[in-house]
Symmetry: C2
Subunit: 299 residues, 2 copies
């Protein structure tokens, strides 16, 4: 069985010169830890928590985090069931920030109906910390007192509240001025340096586990806030479906490293204290959004 | 005179619904501060510190920081004078990490000669802190004891040493295992979440001040480390020139906000304490790589 690591280890070498040596050296690092992980260290995301998005440039698969945003995820399920997103488009690509999709006519004549879905929802910008088992990350975070991981998602907390953090690849719910206006009909993915000032101001609902590069490499919008100025630039979405609502043959077998495993701890340590000989001065520190949670695909 | 802000303010709104209100609300924030800045708050980068790169997908302009890497910048000037980069290509685009260019044949038969330029150079991974006027940023940084700005560049320090930080858009010098192998013939730009573990391990020499989106939107390489697997994917570089070596008519009039100005302090404060009504819970904190140093173009 061939294993393809979908996550991008931030390999340390920046030259083409010593490709063979690179491979050898890498094997004493993070890759070796993952290669020797037990099967039990990897979990299979539940199909009901997966969203498959087909767009003109490829496929993106998201894992949702209902422990953090149950209501808006339920609303998105209602929208998806109605085929709400099918035929809509990616309408905004702002460099070093977000890729966003939804109805370009929202709020105007010709806007698509939300049908049975709610138009307003109590915000889920954060939840109670109580009841969460946060695997701590030893990091001096610029934005939060406590950071760590819950079931494969980056999380921050102030002791009472906990929230998902705006790391690269996180999936969020666009909204207007009203805090209850984020109903899930407009979604965005972070495709730049983590805009952590959005934490607790928007509802995050999950993260990309495959295909983020099909979003991050899209042409940047030249309009205000990175919106495409011409409808012809829109990147059409042919469908968004939940994993439990598509034929088994179309499902992708992805495994996510358990963030509560010893292997994950070893992995984080290897990313913190780089022992590869390339490094002159290993940081000995790591920031939450620089911990890329490993995902692999079984083929 | 029309002013185009090239830097991308991370506007806060994520929806298309209220575009008119957005404009109004934005004007009480960072944009208003920049709009009301004195001319003296903006500096014109010296032509000798600008690099213009023309590639198949557009133009990128870099401002170099000789206070941090005088030797490698001098070596790059030697390479540029020889036309070393002209006709070479962007050969690596790794998602959420770097875009890199140089000679795909480096170290192999047919590699381009470095001519009069040095092949080895003492690394400039950091410099003495002494002699630097660091405008401090009040931020709890994951990687360094002190962070701030020097003449428009993000900087970190441990009290004795100081170094440029690997924020989005920073320009660095690829190297092999040998610390002195970074001669400037292979360069990269950060196009993802700041890989700060590279700080003090690679020489940074400047940052993109225009055109980063022409790099960050390139198709991702599907090879190891994001290298393009097929030469046909290479993005050709027609030329790299210093600003003082191109005709005046081809120079772009860019202004960079002075990081030692009161206006910059006000700008950072406005980005830290978001007063726009959209925010439910402003962070009150900011991280060094989330401070995007404003650049504007005069036309």
């Amino acid at each position: 069985m061939q294993t393809i690591y979908r996550f991008l280890i931030h390999f340390f070498i920046l030259s083409t010169l010593l490709m063979n040596s690179i491979n050898a050296d890498t094997l004493i690092g993070s890759q070796a830890i993952l290669d020797s992980a037990d099967d039990a260290d990897w979990r299979t995301p539940e199909d009901k928590n997966l969203l498959y998005m087909q767009h003109a440039k490829g496929q993106v698969i998201f894992e949702l985090a209902p422990a953090f945003a149950p209501e808006v995820i339920a609303n998105i399920r209602q929208l998806v069931t109605q085929g709400y997103f099918d035929g809509l488009a990616i309408i905004r690509v702002q460099d070093n920030y977000v890729v966003q999709w939804g109805d370009s006519l929202a709020g105007k004549d010709g806007a698509r109906s939300l049908g049975e879905a709610k138009t307003e929802l109590e915000p889920e910008f954060f939840r109670e910390r109580a009841g969460l088992d946060i695997v701590p990350l030893d990091s001096r975070d610029a934005y939060a007192e406590e950071v760590g991981f819950v079931d494969g998602f980056p999380v921050a907390s102030d002791g009472k509240r906990a929230w998902l953090t705006h790391c690269y690849g996180m999936l969020g719910v666009g909204r207007d001025y009203a805090f209850n206006s984020g109903n899930g009909a407009e979604l965005y993915v972070v495709t730049g340096h983590a805009p952590r000032h959005l934490d607790r101001n928007v509802t995050l609902i999950g993260r990309v586990i495959a295909g983020v590069e099909t979003l991050s490499s899209l042409p940047r919008g030249t309009g205000f806030l990175g919106f495409y100025e011409d409808e012809k630039e829109h990147v059409r979405i042919s469908s968004i479906r939940f994993g439990d609502d598509i034929p088994e043959t179309q499902r992708v077998s992805l495994k996510v490293l358990r963030t509560d495993s010893r292997t994950f701890q070893d992995y984080v340590q290897s990313r913190t204290h780089r022992k590869e000989s390339w490094f002159a001065d290993p940081a000995g520190r790591i920031e939450i959004c620089n911990v890329q949670i490993p995902v692999k695909e079984l083929e």
